[in-house]
Symmetry: C2
Subunit: 252 residues, 2 copies
């Protein structure tokens, strides 16, 4: 069953780890290092991280991740496209990752290495993700009556001077309608975004409405919508999955 070759050193000696990492980098393997280290970063920002235990992950696409025992986010990293190097200096393993444009450099100095594994990962599958904002758009193009009776879509992703409008359409009285879709509760910045689109088209269309569509809206956002004469339409992203009962919208 386990025909896959895992290179694994439990108590790595520095002279050997150096070699192993270099070879694994050449072979485009994913490399994982548990170790005690100090980290310096210099680039878009700059940072210093004192001595501690971390897990370092080197990916064949040039990604480098430094994970601590907490948090979803890496404490330090290099984005895809970086170049990784490694050497032994003063008896210590040093891993360096650089990229250009923007110029960025990460230096990891190991004071102890607990474990190294490296492996060729084969993965051709792509993630199928549902309930995105895009799916909300798909649903409304197909069933525009969910917005309101008589509504019709003219254009998806309409470009304006000031950004892209999710849906542009027309109501049963001939008003043009700008629709901004959100899969989460409506925030102030979402309202500002809609207002910006509205302003960019209000000179072009005399009868113009602006709708924001999402699962809910905060109090302040609702007030701001009212001030600007914009409207809110309730629609939860989970309603946009196939086979969902939409009868609650049917009296529109």
């Amino acid at each position: 069953m386990n025909m896959k070759k895992v290179v694994n050193i439990e108590n790595p000696l520095n002279e050997k780890t150096d070699e192993l990492i270099k070879k694994s980098l050449r072979k485009n393997r994913v490399i994982e290092i548990f170790g005690k280290c100090v980290i310096e970063y210099e680039g878009r920002a700059s940072s210093h991280l004192g001595l501690g235990d971390r897990l370092i992950l080197l990916k064949p696409d040039g990604t480098l991740l430094v994970h601590t025992k907490n948090q979803r986010e890496p404490v330090n990293w290099q984005p895809p496209g970086s170049r990784h190097y490694c050497k032994t200096k003063d008896q210590k393993l040093v891993v360096i990752s650089k990229r250009k444009s923007p110029e960025e450099k990460l230096v990891i100095e190991f004071f102890d290495v607990f474990s190294i594994s490296s492996l060729d990962l084969v993965d051709e599958e792509e993630l199928e993700l549902n309930r995105s904002e895009e799916e909300m758009g798909d649903l409304l193009v197909e069933k525009p009556w969910i917005i309101e009776k008589g509504f019709s879509v003219i254009k998806r992703e309409k470009e304006t001077e000031l950004g892209y409008i999710d849906l542009f359409g027309e109501d049963d009285r001939g008003n043009k309608v700008i629709i901004e879709l959100k899969r989460k509760r409506i925030s102030l910045s979402a309202v500002s975004q809609l207002k910006r689109y509205y302003d960019s088209l209000k000179n072009k269309y005399t009868n113009l409405r602006g709708l924001i569509v999402g699962p809910s809206v905060s109090e302040k956002s609702k007030n701001l919508l009212n001030e600007h004469g914009l409207e809110f339409v309730k629609l939860k992203p989970e309603a946009c999955e196939l086979g969902t009962d939409l009868t609650e919208y049917i009296d529109n």
Copy 2:
């Protein structure tokens, strides 16, 4: 030197891996699994990921990460605070992670396991990060003349009806000044944000200016600033680090 105990199985048998993972979870270790798996997610969104090789990371704070050989971002994950479980079903290792509020569930079914390591990571260090937007604020509070001659800061993080203003101050002619700080090139949404703050205070102060401070500004954003009567002031975040030569601002 290597007194740290690394639990490491190179060719894990499923009966043993089950036990090892359960024990490591109890002991709050960081667990890393290389394996071939299928993944289902159901929660804020939903997703399916077909058979492929991945690296799974389980953290003691309840974070779970699934990394493929590419990208900085995990292809699937659970945020901190989730609960991890593991079992053997149909001779296959299954790892499950759940959280409530919002309800989310991730199920990883392994068809092959290549390597497992688990380790107690000790890390008390905090990251020292420089060149943040906050540091730009620190500098301008200390040296307000960088904005312009005669400018003075009245308040940091001033709250308004429609959000928090980074800096609120006054110029040498008695105009009140709203300042929005950005460490990156100014985008349309940054301008919208400043406009929102400006609108929320323009009734309160008759002589009001709105400045946006950042390293550069896009053409569209510059136009939108002009339309609204708002202003741009150039300041790079790296200038906010200690010991930087600020003579280029000194004629202000």
